[in-house]
């Protein structure tokens, strides 16, 4: 029961992140949505680790740590791109950034 609730919370967080990424047109909000989805993934890792048969092999924890590190890198690069897009297009609307050349 507890695992199901945890997974449901994680699923809801994932759906909220998806909602942010799909409906908001601001690139920063899209990035925030992706961060939320990553957080939901981490929550899944941790809750499966807690309910695994062998919690002493801390695979879920290790996975979550690496995932957080990657999320940090992703946020840094993503926001740098957003700032550069804003500098060129004077907008952070994802619909505006629709051409490939600089």
């Amino acid at each position: 029961m507890m695992l199901q609730i945890l997974l449901a919370i994680s699923a809801a967080l994932f759906a909220l992140g998806l909602l942010a990424a799909l409906t908001r047109r601001n690139a920063i909000m899209v990035l925030i949505g992706i961060e939320l989805m990553l957080g939901a993934g981490n929550l899944n890792f941790i809750s499966f680790w807690k309910f695994s048969a062998h919690p002493e092999t801390i695979t879920g924890v290790m996975f979550a740590i690496f995932s957080i590190a990657i999320a940090a890198a992703e946020a840094a690069v993503g926001l740098a791109i957003v700032i550069q897009v804003h500098r060129r297009l004077h907008s952070v609307d994802v619909n505006e950034a629709n051409q490939l050349k600089g």
Binding site: A15, F51, V61
Partner: protein, 190 residues
């Protein structure tokens, strides 16, 4: 009065700490929902920070203290600051009337939002159904000894089983640092 005391004392209090994780969990969902709905970008970002904090607390409540504190350190200390700085550095970043004729059409943006909401609702429904019908999730029991991730074990793991990923992450972070600095650098010609 006396009987009431005893009745309260007889409740299954020993199970209470197990369920305390619901508080940060639900608060996290609430904050994330507020973040998605709020129009003001800074408010939305602050709500996301709250939901990150709650996620960290949730990790701690589940026994992964190290991950919880790393979550707080990385997300609240670094990622949140990056997001807030990015919002301030992109002024008028709330989307206004743009050159794209399609996006000026209000029906299209409504359709856009509706489609997004539908997709995420479908994903949520699918996930929830999968969780509800999965026999493994339903039958999962807490292992006999409570799960714990002592920091020494994590350190040992990092330098043995996951040494290669650790090195990969180190390279990735360096590359991300340099890359982010390069991308965000002001063009010399402009």
């Amino acid at each position: 009065m006396h009987a009431l005391f005893q009745k309260i004392a007889a409740l299954p209090w020993d199970q209470l700490p197990q369920w305390l994780f619901l508080i940060p969990g639900l608060l996290m969902l609430l904050a994330a929902f507020a973040a998605v709905c709020l129009r003001n970008l800074i408010h939305s970002a602050l709500c996301v920070v709250l939901s990150f904090i709650c996620l960290g607390v949730l990790f701690m409540a589940l026994g992964a203290e190290f991950v919880g504190f790393v979550q707080l350190l990385v997300y609240v200390g670094a990622v949140a600051m990056l997001i807030l700085f990015a919002i301030l550095l992109t002024p008028a970043s709330e989307v206004q009337a743009s050159n794209n004729p399609l996006s000026n059409f209000r029906l299209s943006s409504a359709l856009h939002a509706a489609a997004g909401a539908a997709v995420s609702f479908l994903v949520l429904a699918g996930l929830l159904a999968a969780i509800a019908f999965s026999p493994r999730a339903a039958n999962a029991e807490l292992p006999a000894q409570p799960a714990a991730a002592p920091v020494a074990l994590i350190g040992e793991n990092l330098l043995t089983y996951t040494l290669l990923p650790l090195l990969g992450i180190a390279v990735l972070l360096t590359a991300a640092l340099v890359g982010a600095a390069l991308i965000a650098k002001e063009d010399s010609k402009s």
